[in-house]
């Protein structure tokens, strides 16, 4: 169990953070994910890939959290006022914040495929197993998500029109 925490805490937290855009909510969801995983560990079938199982809990919990709270708050990564970031880091952070803001504008189904693809580095098969959808659906959802994101990133001025 220690291993579960050590190995999956960060990716689960990051998946939740990208789904929710709020560190406190992400921490709450991460906690719930692990408690559910511990409670249901005997139901985990080793024939399935473990990360699919735990990411599935994370995505479901994040969507539930979105439904419960109904607030999409941009990622709060403002640095403390007394620790100014170097210009380059600040620019990177601003871009990261804009990307997070755009992610939050996507429908949760589309956001989930982007999160799994880019923040947990899952491939089509893994995403399909995690979300319980066929790989062909993963592919088409990724296309829809990227097309939507592209337009939004252009509107935010992050990508050239």
């Amino acid at each position: 169990m220690e291993l579960l925490l050590t190995h999956y805490e960060k990716p689960v937290y990051n998946a939740a953070l990208r789904m929710l855009g709020n560190p406190e909510d992400a921490a709450d969801v991460t906690q719930t994910v692990f408690l559910k995983a511990f409670e249901n560990i005997l139901r985990y079938d080793p024939a399935r890939r473990f990360f699919s199982w735990i990411y599935r809990i994370a995505i479901n919990e994040s969507i539930d959290q979105l439904k419960r709270r109904r607030h999409d708050v941009p990622l709060d990564t403002e640095p403390p006022a007394d620790t100014p970031l170097p210009a380059e880091s600040l620019q990177e952070q601003q871009v990261g914040d804009e990307i997070q803001a755009v992610l939050l504008e996507l429908e949760p189904d589309l956001r989930a495929v982007i999160v799994l693809r880019y923040f947990t580095e899952c491939d089509y098969r893994d995403i399909g197993a995690t979300l319980g959808i066929p790989e062909s659906t993963v592919k088409s959802r990724l296309f829809s998500a990227r097309r939507d994101m592209r337009r939004r990133l252009q509107r935010h001025g992050i990508l050239s029109p």
Binding site: M1, E2, L3, L5, T6, H7, E9, K10, P11, Y13, N14, L17, P23, A27, T30, Q31, F34, L35, K36, F38, E39, N40, L42, R43, Y44, D45, P46, A47, R48, R49, F50, F51, W53, R56, I57, N60, T77, E92, V95, G96, I99, Q100, I114, R117, Y118, F119, D123, Y124, G132, I133, K139, L142, F143, R146, R147, M149, R150, Q154, L159, S160
Partner: protein, 251 residues
């Protein structure tokens, strides 16, 4: 002006999921008006997403999870660690046996929420007979290990039963075998310096530890890869104590 089909193919190209015909089609579509802009936009977006750095979880989160799960802080106690949480969960349900029965009957595959996942609640090793296919003992001054390899539905499970009186570094190498590390199970204590990559696993132990490394066979694995052995190295403080290989079972 963008083109839906072109964007569809560009999206698939980012995942390296184009066949030769689609690649030719994409090349042709990129020659058309707006093709270059579409390609640049998708590539830039892909890079931006890949470059977003992972955030560190709050420092207190692990401790909070342990507290909530009623797990002891610090050193893990393997499966015993789980039992207080399980007892709590089952007691909180209305009737443990009824719950078990319902969950045992619930084997909704594929789509659905996680609370519908998983098929039988019985542990997999109760549901299916696991016959060790290959076993090998490794030993040297101050350490002994029994390693066994058996098939499971997803590929193979590599069991490591380690006993060492000195710091022991274990390396499991899968390169060239067509197998990928899929996870760990049944770990009965802390592991140090744990590093998991798709084709290798490294860990350090002292004392006795048991764990199972779940291995998944890559779909595209060739016959030659399926015949290649899994290699193991055991070392202590930089000194190689023992090394060897386990042959994959013939499918």
């Amino acid at each position: 002006m963008s083109n839906e089909r072109r964007e569809q193919l560009l999206s698939a190209a980012l995942d390296d999921d184009l066949d030769d015909e689609e690649r030719r089609e994409l090349d042709a579509l990129l020659e058309e008006s707006g093709g270059r802009e579409d390609r640049q936009a998708y590539a830039a977006m892909h890079d931006l997403l890949k470059d977003v750095e992972a955030a560190a979880p709050p420092a207190a989160l692990q401790a909070a999870i342990r507290r909530q799960a009623r797990l002891p802080a610090g050193r893990a106690q393997g499966w015993q660690w789980l039992f207080p949480g399980l007892r709590y969960a089952v007691a909180a349900s209305a009737g443990a046996l009824a719950t078990l029965a319902v969950l045992n009957a619930d084997s909704v595959p594929g789509a659905g929420r996680v609370d519908q996942l998983g098929g039988s609640m019985a542990p997999a090793d109760v549901r299916q007979a696991h016959v060790p296919v290959v076993s090998r003992r490794f030993a040297a001054e101050g350490f002994e290990s029994l390693v066994s390899l058996r098939p499971n539905a997803a590929g193979l499970a590599l069991s490591l039963d380690l006993e060492s009186r000195r710091p022991l570094d274990v390396a499991v190498r899968l390169d060239g075998t067509g197998l990928l590390v899929d996870g760990l199970a049944g770990v009965d204590g802390e592991l140090g310096n744990l590093s998991i990559r798709p084709d290798s696993l490294n860990l350090s132990v002292r004392g006795g530890r048991r764990l199972e490394v779940l291995l998944r066979r890559r779909e595209s694995a060739s016959q030659a890869e399926a015949a290649a052995p899994i290699r193991l190295d055991f070392s202590s403080e930089g000194e190689l104590l023992e090394q060897g290989a386990l042959q994959q079972p013939v499918r």
